[in-house]
C-alpha cells in the first residue's frame, strides 16, 4: 500500500543543462528524457504517474533545477534536496508559491543560520530550506541546523516529510528558529488500526485519533487516561475523585447500553488487556484503580482511539464502546545504545470550593457544646458565634468558639508524584529493542497514603532469515497501593467526615483526641458512622499489591513480498493481594464478647489470567490500478478469574490483624471463566490510491450465552474517497479533501459468567439446632433473576465524515456524524423487590446515540520565530431510548437509580421535589411546618452532557513552547444531584440553612394543604433535617456543566545548544500544570466533577469524593 513518493537526483547534476521539447506528454517521458541528457536518476511511484497532468515544455539549454521547479509546481508536486544528493519529494498537495521570474541578484546577500525543530522541539534532520523563487536551497544537519546565503529581504521555504511547509521572511535576520507542525494528512502517515494492522490515514473510512506518546508523558495526570481529557473529539473522560491511581471513566460517543460496562476496550500492542475496576467491599470503600494503573506513561509510543463501531469492528464483541490502542516502544532509532532518561515531578494541591456558613457554630438546636464529651461534632446548628465565646470539646478542653475556615487545606496534604524512567534502546535494519525501567512514587493528599509502582518494559523485534520476524513486548509492573483513599459511603471515608465537621471544630484537636489511652475512638458525634477522619487514616489500613505481566510474542513469516502469516500468543496475568481492617476500637461497632477485642480483618487474593491466541494471514497485491489487501484471522480468548476471601471478626490479641488471631472466621472462593472464539476477515480494495473500500466480518462464539444464541456475526463496510486527488479542477485553497462513509455492527455478551442459572450458596458457618448439632444454613445467592436465554446485545453504527485542509494547510477540519443504535441490550433492570429479587437480567430495548464530532486545527500565525497553532474539538452527542421491554406499556426501567424512559435521552434522573399548589406556592405540613414533597418523583434532567470538547492553543516562540487546554462539558438538561450539599444542608453548614436561626424557628413561605397560608413555626434544625427524611433533593439539583483551564505546559528543547560532539544528545524541559482553574461552574460548595462512583452509568450524584487537586510540576527528558 505504501508508496514512497521520492525521486532522487544526483547533486552533481544540479548545474546541468537540458533541452526539452514536449507536447502533452506523460511525465514519465520527461523524467526519462532528463535522465538521458544528464545522468540524473528519478525515483517515483505509480502515484506520481497517475496524478500527473500531461507535460508541455519548451526549453533550450535550461538549468535542470528550473525545469523541475517549473514542472512540479504546475503539477502540484514538490521536490526536496537533501545533503549532497538532491532529493525531490513529490507531494500530492498543491504548492502555493507562484513562480517568480528569475532575476539577477542585486542586493548584497547575508548569511542566515538557523535551526528547524518539530512540534515537540526535537531537531529535524534533513529538512529542506529553499530560497523562495529560486532553486537555491540546503538541508539541516543532525542537530537540525542549517546555514544559507540569501538576500536580506528573501523568503525561505522550509519543508520536511510529514510536516507542513512553512514560509519565513528573512527580514534581515541572520539567525532563525523554525518549528514545523506535523501534517496529520501527510501521505506517509500510518495509523495503527484494529488488530494492530497498519493503514495509511487516508485510506480509512472512519474516524480515528492518534495521540503521540510524548504528549501523554509530558503533562501527565495521575491516571494515564486523564491526559486525554478534552483532547479528543467524541471522547468524554472523567477522572474520579478517588485519589492517585484511582480509575478513570471513559465514554466514547455516549453510553451504548443502559447498564454494564460502557468503557472502551483497552488494547496494548494489538492484544486486549483487563481493565477491571476494583471498587469497595463492605465498609472499605477505596478505589483500587483500573487496568491503566499498570502502565508507565513513558513507555507509550502512541495511543490510538478507535471511536466508532466501524473502526473497531474487527474486535467484535469487545468493541461496542470503541477501542483505545496503546503501542509501547518496540525499538530504538539509530545504531548504538541510546539512553533516555525522564523525570517527572508534580505537586497536587487540594482545591476548596466550599462556601459554608460561619455565623453559627457547632451545636444542635441552637446550643453550643459546654459540657465534656459533646456529641454534636458534625452539626453546625449551634449558637451565633460572638467574639470571646468558648466551647467545650472532648474530655473538657475549652477552646474558642470560632470559625475553622479551611478544613480542606488543614486536613489534606499537598500530594507529590515523582516518576523516574530510564530507557535503553537500539535499532538497526534487522531489529532492535527498547528496555525501560521506571519508578513512580506518589504521596496522596490523604495523610498516610501512598502509591509506588515499578515497571520493566521490554520491546524487541528481530528479523531472522530475512523472511521470519519475531517481535515481542513484555511489561512487568509491581504496584503497591498503601492505604488508598477511602471515598463514598461513610465510616472511614475522610471526605464524608471532614466535609461535614462542625464549622468550629479545630482539626488539631480532632487529631489529638482521635483515640483514648485504650486506643478506642473518642466519640465526637453521636452519629457514629462519621468516624473521626484522623482515626480513619491512622488506625485503618489497607494494602493492595499487584504483580502484573502483560506480554505477547509474535512470529511473522513473509512468504513473498505480498503474502505473510503471523501468529501471536498474548497474556495478561496478575496476582493482586489486598488486605484491610476495620480497626479495633472504632466507635460504630459493638464490643466483642468477653476475652476479645472488636474489629475485623479481611484478605482478598485474586488471580487473573487472560490469554489470547491469534493468527493472521495477510495478502497485498496490485492488479493494475487496483490494490487489493486481504486479511484473515482467528482469535481465542480465555479468561479466568480466581478469588479467595478470608475475613475474621474480633481478635484475641489487640492490634494483631491476622486470620489466626481472629474469633469468627469466614472464607470463600470463587472462580469465573469465560471464553470467546472468533474468526474474522477483512478485504480492502483501493483504486488509484484515492478510493478505498474496506469490508470486514467477524464471528464470535460466547461461552457465557446459551448454545442457541451464542454465535453472532458482525459485518462492517467502510469507504474513503480522496476527492482532491480524484477530481481535477479543485480550487487552489483546497489542499486536501476526503469523504468517509462507514457502517458496522458490533456487539457484546455483556454479562457475567453463570448468569444463566440460579445458584445457591451455603453459609460459611453452621448453626446449632436445639439438640446442639451444627446444621448448615444456605439459600439463593443472588438478588438478580438469572436468564438462560440471553442473546448478545448488538450495536449498529453509521458514520459519515469529511476531512479538509484549506488555505495552504493553515486550516484543517475533520467532521464526523454518527448514528448508533443498540438493541437487545442485556440489562439488570430494577424490579419490585416483592419478587424476592431487586433486579432481573433481560434483553431489552433499543436506544440510539447520535452526534457530531468536530476537530479543527488552525495555524493563525506562522513566522519563523513565532508560531501559533490551535487544536479544537467539539462533540455533540444526544441519545434516545427507543424501546423497552416487550410491550408498549413497558416504557421505563430503572437501573442503578437512573431511569431509562422511552422517547427521552438516556440516563434520566428523577427526584422528589417540594410540593407546590397550582399557583406554584410551596406546600407545608400544617402540624409540623415541614415542607411536603411531590407525590411522585419528577424528572429533573439527565446525567449526560450534550456538548463537550476542548481547545488547545499552542505557541512556539523561538523554540519555547507554551500550550494551554481549556475543556468543557455542557448541556441544557445536564444536571448533577449534589448529595454532599444535602448533607451540608442537613448538618447546618449550607448557607441556605441560615434563615430562621436568629428567631429560633422557620415559617415556610407558602401554604398548607388546605390552601391556607402556612403559619406553623417549625424548629430550625428539624426543619432543615426533614429534607433528608423525606428524600427531597430540590435545592441540590445543579447544572453539571463546566469550563476549565485543564492544562498548561511550557517547554524548551535545549538540544540545539548542545555541541554535536557532546555526550548528552538532547535535553528537553517542560513545566506543567493540570486542573489549573475552574472558569465556570454552577454547583455550590463542590466541583462538578467530584464523583466517586465506580459504577457504569450512574454519574450525576456527587457525595463524598476527594477534593479536586491542582497539580504543578515539571518534566525533564535527557537523551544520551
Amino acid at each position: 500500500m505504501l508508496l514512497v513518493l521520492v525521486t532522487a537526483v544526483h547533486a552533481e547534476g544540479m548545474a546541468q543543462k537540458v533541452t526539452l521539447s514536449m507536447q502533452e506528454e506523460n511525465i514519465e517521458k520527461l523524467f526519462a528524457e532528463i535522465t538521458k541528457q544528464t545522468d540524473i536518476q528519478f525515483l517515483y511511484s505509480n502515484e506520481v504517474v497517475r496524478r500527473a497532468k500531461p507535460v508541455t515544455i519548451q526549453v533550450r539549454n535550461a538549468d535542470v533545477n528550473d525545469v523541475l521547479r517549473e514542472v512540479t509546481t504546475r503539477q502540484n508536486m514538490t521536490y526536496r534536496v537533501i545533503e549532497g544528493t538532491v532529493t525531490v519529494n513529490v507531494m500530492v498537495q498543491p504548492v502555493k508559491q507562484r513562480t517568480e521570474p528569475l532575476r539577477p541578484v542585486l542586493q548584497e546577500e547575508i548569511q542566515v543560520t538557523g535551526a528547524v525543530t518539530g512540534p515537540d522541539g526535537a531537531p529535524l534532520q534533513g529538512a529542506t530550506i529553499n530560497l523562495k523563487g529560486t532553486q537555491r536551497g540546503t538541508t539541516t544537519n543532525e542537530q537540525g541546523q542549517f546555514s544559507i546565503t540569501v538576500p536580506p529581504q528573501g523568503t525561505l521555504v522550509i519543508s520536511y516529510v510529514g510536516h507542513l511547509s512553512q514560509e519565513v521572511a528573512v527580514n534581515g535576520r541572520t539567525s532563525l528558529s523554525v518549528t514545523l507542525a506535523e501534517d496529520a494528512q501527510a501521505l506517509g502517515e500510518v495509523v495503527v488500526t484494529a488488530l494492530g494492522i497498519e493503514r495509511t490515514a487516508k485510506s480509512l473510512g472512519y474516524s480515528t485519533v492518534q495521540v503521540d506518546g510524548e504528549q501523554i508523558a509530558e503533562n501527565r495526570t495521575n491516571t494515564t487516561m486523564g491526559a486525554l481529557q478534552g483532547k479528543v473529539s467524541g471522547v468524554n473522560i472523567t477522572t474520579l475523585g478517588t485519589g492517585p491511581q484511582g480509575s478513570t471513566r471513559i465514554r466514547i460517543r455516549g453510553n451504548s447500553s443502559f447498564t454494564g460496562t460502557n468503557t472502551p476496550l483497552i488494547v496494548i500492542n494489538g492484544v486486549p488487556i483487563d481493565n477491571s475496576r476494583f471498587g469497595g467491599q463492605g465498609l472499605n470503600n477505596s478505589d483500587g484503580g483500573d487496568g491503566f494503573s499498570s502502565i508507565n506513561a513513558d513507555d507509550i509510543e502512541s495511543m490510538t482511539v478507535l471511536k466508532g463501531a466501524a473502526a473497531a469492528a474487527l474486535y467484535g464483541s469487545r468493541a461496542k464502546d470503541g477501542v483505545i490502542m496503546i503501542t509501547t516502544k518496540l525499538k530504538g532509532e539509530g545504531r548504538g545504545i541510546g539512553v533516555d532518561y525522564n523525570v517527572n515531578y508534580t505537586m497536587d494541591t487540594p482545591l476548596d470550593f466550599t462556601d459554608f456558613q460561619y455565623e453559627y457554630g457547632q451545636g444542635e438546636r441552637g446550643v453550643r457544646p459546654t459540657e465534656p464529651f459533646p456529641t454534636s461534632g458534625i452539626w453546625s446548628f449551634g449558637e451565633k458565634i460572638e467574639p470571646g465565646m468558648t466551647q467545650v470539646l472532648f474530655d473538657g478542653v475549652e477552646v474558642p468558639y470560632e470559625p475553622v475556615r479551611d478544613r480542606i487545606r488543614k486536613f489534606y496534604n499537598v500530594g507529590q508524584n515523582l516518576t523516574n524512567s530510564l530507557a535503553l534502546s537500539n535499532g538497526g535494519e534487522n531489529g532492535g529493542f527498547n528496555l525501560s525501567l521506571s519508578n513512580t512514587d506518589n504521596k496522596s493528599i490523604v495523610p498516610n497514603s501512598d502509591f509506588n509502582r515499578k515497571t520493566v518494559n521490554l520491546g524487541f523485534t528481530q528479523t531472522i532469515f530475512k523472511k521470519l520476524t519475531v517481535q515481542g513486548n513484555v511489561n512487568y509492573s509491581n504496584e503497591y497501593n498503601r492505604n488508598p483513599a477511602q471515598v463514598g459511603g461513610q465510616e472511614f471515608s475522610t471526605p464524608s467526615s471532614v466535609l461535614t465537621l462542625a464549622n468550629t471544630m479545630p482539626l488539631d484537636l480532632l487529631k489529638e483526641y482521635r483515640k483514648d489511652e485504650m486506643g478506642n475512638e473518642v466519640v465526637y458525634a453521636r452519629f457514629l458512622p462519621r468516624t473521626n477522619p484522623y482515626f480513619s487514616v491512622y488506625e485503618k489500613f489497607e494494602n493492595i499489591k499487584r504483580d502484573r505481566f502483560i506480554g505477547n510474542i509474535l512470529l511473522k513469516y513473509d512468504f513473498t513480498d505480498w503474502l505473510y502469516v503471523q501468529g501471536r500468543i498474548a497474556q495478561d496475568f496478575y496476582v493482586r493481594n489486598q488486605d484491610f481492617n476495620y480497626p479495633t476500637g472504632y466507635a460504630a461497632i459493638g464490643p466483642a464478647p468477653a476475652g476479645f477485642v472488636n474489629g475485623s480483618y479481611f484478605m482478598n487474593n485474586r488471580r487473573f489470567r487472560e490469554r489470547n491466541y491469534d493468527f493472521l494471514l495477510g495478502a497485498d497485491r496490485e492488479f493494475g490500478e487496483f490494490d487489493v489487501n486481504l486479511t484473515l484471522g482467528g482469535n481465542q480468548m480465555y479468561r479466568r478469574f480466581d478469588q479467595e476471601n478470608q475475613s475474621v471478626q474480633d481478635f484475641i490479641e489487640r492490634g494483631l490483624y491476622t486470620i489466626m488471631n481472629g474469633r469468627v472466621k469466614s472464607s470463600n472462593y470463587s472462580v469465573s471463566e469465560r471464553k470467546v472464539n472468533s474468526l474474522y476477515g477483512a478485504a480492502e480494495v483501493s483504486f488509484r490510491d484515492y478510493l478505498f473500500v474496506n469490508v470486514t466480518a467477524r464471528n464470535d462464539w460466547f461461552s457465557t450465552l446459551a448454545p442457541g444464541s451464542r454465535s453472532i456475526l458482525y459485518p462492517s463496510v467502510t469507504g474513503s474517497f480522496v476527492f482532491t486527488d480524484a477530481l481535477g479542477g479543485m480550487p487552489e485553497w483546497l489542499n486536501f479533501g476526503k469523504l468517509r462513509l462507514a457502517y458496522a455492527e458490533v456487539g457484546d455478551d455483556n454479562v457475567d459468567p453463570y448468569s444463566n442459572a440460579l445458584y445457591y450458596q451455603v453459609n460459611n458457618n453452621l448453626f446449632p439446632n436445639p439438640q446442639g448439632s451444627m446444621i448448615p444454613v444456605g439459600g439463593i445467592n443472588t438478588n438478580t433473576i438469572p436468564n438462560g436465554l440471553l442473546r448478545p446485545l448488538r450495536v449498529s453504527e453509521m458514520e459519515a465524515g469529511v476531512e479538509l485542509r484549506l488555505f495552504n494547510n493553515v486550516l484543517g477540519l475533520d467532521v464526523a456524524y454518527y448514528h448508533k443504535v443498540s438493541r437487545d441490550q442485556i440489562v439488570s433492570a430494577q424490579i419490585s423487590n416483592t419478587t424476592g429479587y431487586t433486579s432481573q437480567l433481560i434483553n431489552v430495548g433499543r436506544s440510539m446515540n447520535r452526534g457530531i464530532e468536530t476537530a479543527i486545527t488552525a495555524s493563525p500565525v506562522r513566522t519563523g520565530s513565532f508560531n501559533w497553532d490551535i487544536n479544537a474539538n467539539l462533540s455533540y452527542n444526544t441519545s434516545k431510548v427507543l424501546q423497552l421491554g416487550l410491550t408498549e406499556e413497558d416504557d421505563m426501567i430503572t437501573v442503578g437509580g437512573i431511569r431509562q424512559v422511552v422517547g427521552m435521552p438516556m440516563g434520566q434522573i428523577y427526584e422528589y421535589l417540594y410540593l407546590r399548589d397550582e399557583q406554584g406556592r410551596q406546600v407545608f405540613d400544617k402540624n409540623s411546618g415541614f415542607p411536603l414533597r411531590t407525590a411522585e418523583m419528577v424528572n429533573v434532567g439527565t446525567n449526560q452532557p450534550s456538548y463537550f470538547g476542548g481547545i488547545t492553543n499552542m505557541f512556539n516562540y523561538k523554540g519555547i513552547t507554551l500550550s494551554a487546554l481549556v475543556d468543557f462539558k455542557l448541556g441544557k438538561d445536564y444536571i448533577l444531584v449534589g448529595g454532599s450539599n444535602r448533607n451540608y444542608w442537613r448538618h447546618g453548614l449550607h448557607k441556605g440553612t441560615l434563615p430562621g436561626r436568629d428567631v429560633g424557628y422557620v415559617i415556610g413561605d407558602g401554604v398548607n394543604p388546605d390552601g391556607s397560608i402556612n403559619e406553623t413555626r417549625a424548629e430550625v434544625q428539624p426543619y432543615y433535617e426533614s429534607i433528608t427524611s423525606q428524600n427531597i433533593h430540590e435545592p441540590f439539583i445543579y447544572n453539571a456543566g463546566f469550563w476549565k483551564l485543564r492544562q498548561v505546559s511550557m517547554g524548551y528543547d535545549f538540544t540545539k545548544h548542545l555541541p554535536s560532539t557532546f555526550w548528552v544528545k538532547g535535553i528537553r524541559l517542560s513545566l506543567v500544570a493540570n486542573n489549573v482553574a475552574v472558569l465556570k461552574k454552577w454547583t455550590e460548595n463542590m466541583d462538578p466533577e467530584e464523583l466517586y462512583d465506580f459504577a457504569g452509568n450512574s454519574t450525576g450524584s456527587g457525595w463524598s469524593s476527594l477534593p479536586l487537586t491542582r497539580s504543578v510540576g515539571f518534566n525533564l527528558n535527557v537523551k544520551f
Partner: protein
C-alpha cells in the same frame, strides 16, 4: 496460493472446531444449583433477626417508640415514632429487608417441597414459617403482594399484585390450618431444621399457636372467623411450655443484631420510655431489673460505663415523650437525671447482648391470647389460670437471658398474688401484660397494640408531630414500588387509603 488457503483453513478449524469444553465452561464450579430446602428454611429463620442493621433500625425507630417502650430523643436519621414523623427509609426498612432476604428463600422452600413425598413435613414447616413472615409484613403495611410475591424467578412474576389484607389473612389461616394438620410424626424425622430440630409435635404446636395469634388479629373486624380459628387452634394443640417457644438462639457466629446495635453503634441513642418503666415500677414487676439498666450520673455516652451501671428497680428512670435531644434538658430536674444519657436503657447485660435469644412466638404470649379468647367466650377454660400460666412462663423465660435474667420463684408468686386477673378489666389487663411479655418483639407489639387498644397510652405529645390521629397506624410503602410497580401499588392505595402513617390496615377497624 492454494497452500496458503489450506493453512488458513486448518488454523481456523483448530480455533473453533476442536474446542472441547466450551459448553461446560459456563458452569459455576463453586456454587450448587440446588440445595436441600431445609438449609434454605434455616436461612430464612436465621436471617430474620441476623444479617443487618436494617431490621433493628425499623424496630428502634418505629415499632418500639409507637408502643412506648424504647425511644430516642435524637432526630435526623433516627427520626420516626419518637417525633411521630415520617422517615421514609426507616419506615420501609422491614419491607426492603424481608422481601429480598426472607420471602425469596421461604417461597423457594415451599414451592420446591410441594408434592414431594419425602419432603412432606418440611413443606408444612415452610408453610408455617411463611405465614409468620407475611403476618409481620401485612400487619405493618396492610395490603401487600402476597400470592405472587417471591416468585420472580420461579414463575416470572415481575410486578406482583397487591392483595387485600382480608384475602391474605384468609389464606394465612387456611395455610396454618392445613399445614399444621398435615404434619405427620410417623415420617422419618428431619433433624436438620434449626427451629425445632425436626420435632414434628413442636412444629405442630407452633403452627396452631401462630394460628391462634392470627385468629385473634381479627377480633375487631371479623369476630366470627376469629372464633372459628381460635377453636381450631385450641383443638389442634397449642404450645405447652417454654420448651415450645419459637426463637432464634444466637451464637458467636450468628449474633443478636439488636444486641450489637444497642451495645455498639446506637448504644448512647436509645432509652427505655417512661410509660414502660413507670408501669413496671408501679406493678413491682420483677422483670424490670432484667429489662432495664441505668448509668447513673452519666454526662455523655462515654460515661455510660459498667461502674455506673445499676439495674436496681427503684433507680430506673424512663425517658419521657415529647422532647428532642435539646429540649429534653427541661426534664432533668424533675426526673432526677443529670443528662439524657442518665436515663434507663434496655439492659445490655441481659436482653440486648450479642447472644440473647430473640423470640418469635412464645408459650407466654399464647397463654395470654388464649386467656383473652376464654374471656371472649371463644374457648373453654379458666381465664385467670391461663393468664397466670402465661405470666409465670414469661418470668421463667427470662432465665434464657443468662444469670441476670433469673427471677426467683418467690418473686414470681408475689407478683401473681398481687396482680390476679381482674375479670372486670380482663381484656385490658391481659393485653397490657402481653405488652410486657412481648418486650423487644417489635412486630407483635405494634400489631397487638393496634388490635387491642391496650395498654392505655397517652399520645406522644411531640410538638412537631405529622400524624392526624393519636398514634401511627401503619408504615408506608417504599419509594421503589412507585417506580417499578406503580400500577399495583396505586391500586392498593385506592383500595386501602392514603399511603401515610394514618391509614388503618383492614383488621384495625376503628
Amino acid at each position: 496460493m492454494k497452500k496458503y488457503i489450506a493453512i488458513a483453513l486448518v488454523a481456523m478449524a483448530t480455533v473453533t472446531g476442536c474446542d472441547r469444553g466450551f459448553d461446560e465452561l459456563n458452569t459455576n464450579k463453586i456454587d450448587p444449583t440446588t440445595l436441600d430446602p431445609v438449609f434454605v428454611l434455616n436461612r430464612s429463620v436465621v436471617d430474620i433477626t441476623f444479617t443487618s442493621t436494617a431490621n433493628t433500625q425499623a424496630m428502634l425507630c418505629y415499632n418500639f417508640p409507637i408502643v412506648q417502650q424504647i425511644l430516642t430523643p435524637f432526630g435526623s436519621s433516627l427520626t420516626g415514632g419518637n417525633y411521630n414523623q415520617l422517615h421514609r427509609e426507616n419506615a420501609t426498612r422491614l419491607w426492603n429487608f424481608y422481601y429480598p432476604n426472607i420471602v425469596k428463600q421461604i417461597v423457594d422452600v415451599v414451592e420446591r417441597t410441594r408434592d414431594v413425598p419425602e419432603q412432606h413435613n418440611l413443606h408444612q414447616f415452610g408453610r408455617i414459617w411463611k405465614a409468620y413472615v407475611f403476618m409481620a409484613l401485612t400487619d405493618t403495611y396492610g395490603d401487600i403482594p402476597y400470592f405472587e410475591a417471591g416468585k420472580g424467578y420461579s414463575e416470572g412474576a415481575m410486578a406482583p399484585k397487591y392483595d387485600a389484607q382480608e384475602a391474605i389473612y384468609a389464606d394465612i389461616l387456611n395455610e396454618l390450618d392445613e399445614a399444621s394438620n398435615a404434619l405427620d410424626a410417623s415420617l422419618a424425622p428431619l433433624t436438620s431444621d434449626i427451629l425445632y430440630g425436626g420435632n414434628v409435635a413442636q412444629w405442630k404446636r407452633f403452627g396452631f399457636s401462630l394460628m391462634l395469634r392470627a385468629a385473634m388479629r381479627l377480633t375487631k373486624v371479623d369476630p366470627a372467623t376469629a372464633e372459628t380459628y381460635v377453636q381450631k387452634a385450641v383443638a389442634g394443640g397449642l404450645m405447652e411450655s417454654n420448651e415450645d417457644n419459637a426463637k432464634n438462639r444466637h451464637s458467636s457466629l450468628y449474633i443478636n443484631w439488636m444486641g450489637e446495635q444497642l451495645s455498639g453503634r446506637e448504644k448512647a441513642n436509645f432509652y427505655l420510655a417512661e410509660p414502660f418503666v413507670n408501669h413496671l415500677q408501679e406493678t413491682d414487676d420483677p422483670r424490670l431489673p432484667v429489662y432495664a439498666i441505668r448509668y447513673v450520673g452519666a454526662q455523655n455516652g462515654t460515661q455510660q460505663t459498667a461502674s455506673r451501671a445499676t439495674s436496681d428497680p427503684d433507680m430506673q428512670v424512663g425517658m419521657p415523650f415529647g422532647y428532642n435531644d435539646v429540649s429534653i434538658v427541661e426534664t432533668y430536674a424533675e426526673k432526677g437525671v443529670v443528662s439524657l444519657w442518665d436515663y434507663s436503657q434496655a439492659n445490655q447485660t441481659t436482653v440486648v447482648t450479642q447472644f440473647a435469644p430473640e423470640f418469635f412466638v412464645t408459650y407466654a404470649q399464647t397463654q395470654l391470647l388464649l386467656a383473652e379468647a376464654i374471656v371472649r367466650g371463644w374457648a373453654s377454660g379458666d381465664a385467670a389460670e391461663t393468664y397466670e400460666r402465661g405470666v409465670r412462663a414469661n418470668m421463667e423465660q427470662m432465665a434464657e437471658y443468662g444469670a441476670g435474667g433469673i427471677i426467683e420463684e418467690a418473686a414470681i408468686q408475689a407478683y401473681l398474688d398481687a396482680h390476679p386477673l381482674d375479670m372486670a378489666n380482663a381484656i385490658e389487663q391481659i393485653n397490657t401484660q402481653y405488652w410486657v411479655v412481648s418486650f423487644l418483639d417489635g412486630n407483635e407489639l405494634f400489631a397487638n397494640f393496634r388490635r387491642s387498644g391496650y395498654p392505655e397510652l397517652d399520645p406522644n405529645p411531640y410538638p412537631g408531630s405529622e400524624i392526624s390521629g393519636d398514634f401511627i397506624r401503619r408504615l408506608v410503602y417504599p419509594d421503589s414500588e412507585y417506580v417499578v410497580n406503580n400500577e399495583n401499588v396505586s391500586e392498593a392505595i385506592a383500595r386501602q387509603g392514603a399511603d401515610d402513617l394514618n391509614t388503618r390496615v383492614w383488621w384495625d377497624k376503628e
